[in-house]
């Protein structure tokens, strides 16, 4: 009886563990798009994320400095007047893996985000806005005087 009870405990415990683990972590965190982040070309990364080719648009407002003294910390802001934006993403053409970050928006979010990114060298920075099945992009060159990937 004792033995039976013990194995039942173990079974219950392991079942409970298996059940709770994915519920706790996967519910909140499960969607990091690895393929897009590993991609070495902007167009491929955009294709991985949104499944549509990008088109340049004046409606995407990209704010980055023309000259970044320190490539390790480049402030960047992306905003747009396009309505019903699903996602905003940021790419650095000269980085080994161009995709830096994506922002998944909800109806509660205003389509205006800011962050700070690393740039290895002078290159174009691209902001993409995904709305209603179309990817709109804006591009600006940033000159980097000190690289962000050094020691």
């Amino acid at each position: 009886m004792n033995l039976l009870n013990q194995s039942r405990r173990i079974l219950l415990k392991s079942f409970g563990f298996c059940l709770s683990l994915p519920l706790l972590s996967e519910k909140l965190f499960a969607s990091w798009p690895e393929e897009a982040f590993m991609s070495t070309e902007i167009d491929k990364a955009i294709g991985e994320l949104y499944g549509h080719p990008p088109q340049a648009s004046d409606l995407v407002k990209l704010k980055v400095p023309d000259i970044a003294e320190n490539g390790a910390v480049v402030p960047i802001s992306v905003s747009t007047d396009i309505e019903n934006v699903d996602s905003i993403s940021i790419y650095v053409e000269g980085n080994p893996n161009p995709l830096a970050a994506t922002f998944e928006l909800s109806p509660y979010i205003v389509a205006a985000v800011s962050t700070r990114i690393k740039m290895g060298k002078t290159s174009n920075v691209v902001a993409a806005v995904y709305s209603g099945g179309t990817v709109y992009t804006a591009t600006q060159e940033v000159k980097v005087t000190i690289g962000g990937c050094g020691g």
């Binding site: 972590s25 909140l28 965190f29 969607s31 990091w32 798009p33 982040f37 390790a72 910390v73 480049v74 650095v92 980085n95 080994p96 893996n97 995709l99 830096a100 970050a101 994506t102 922002f103 998944e104 928006l105 909800s106 509660y108 979010i109 205003v110 205006a112 985000v113 800011s114 962050t115 700070r116 990114i117 690393k118 740039m119 962000g148 990937c149 050094g150 020691g151």
Partner: protein, 102 residues
Amino acid sequence: MAIKGKAKLRGEKVQVKLLIKHAMETGLRIDAETGNKIPAYHVTEVVGSWEGQEVFRSNLGPAVSKNPYLSFQLKGPSVGDTISFASIDNKGIQDSGAAVVK
């Protein structure tokens, strides 16, 4: 480890700013002493919630600067509401924080 957040009501929008303390190793840097690459170690996902509802989600790569800073604007929350944050890195280490709308 904790996510620092600020949320301030400006007109109809709440400006949310958050700072996550993290090394954000790119995986490309070489350790000067051993000559080996320092493995990539960075925050992958950040989630913002308001009243138990997910309102913001961001995926970060190693190209986001050390101690990532993110800012966004919310429509809906009012003064006194709590915006909570949670993050996870590529080693599965989670972090969290919250900000009360001022």
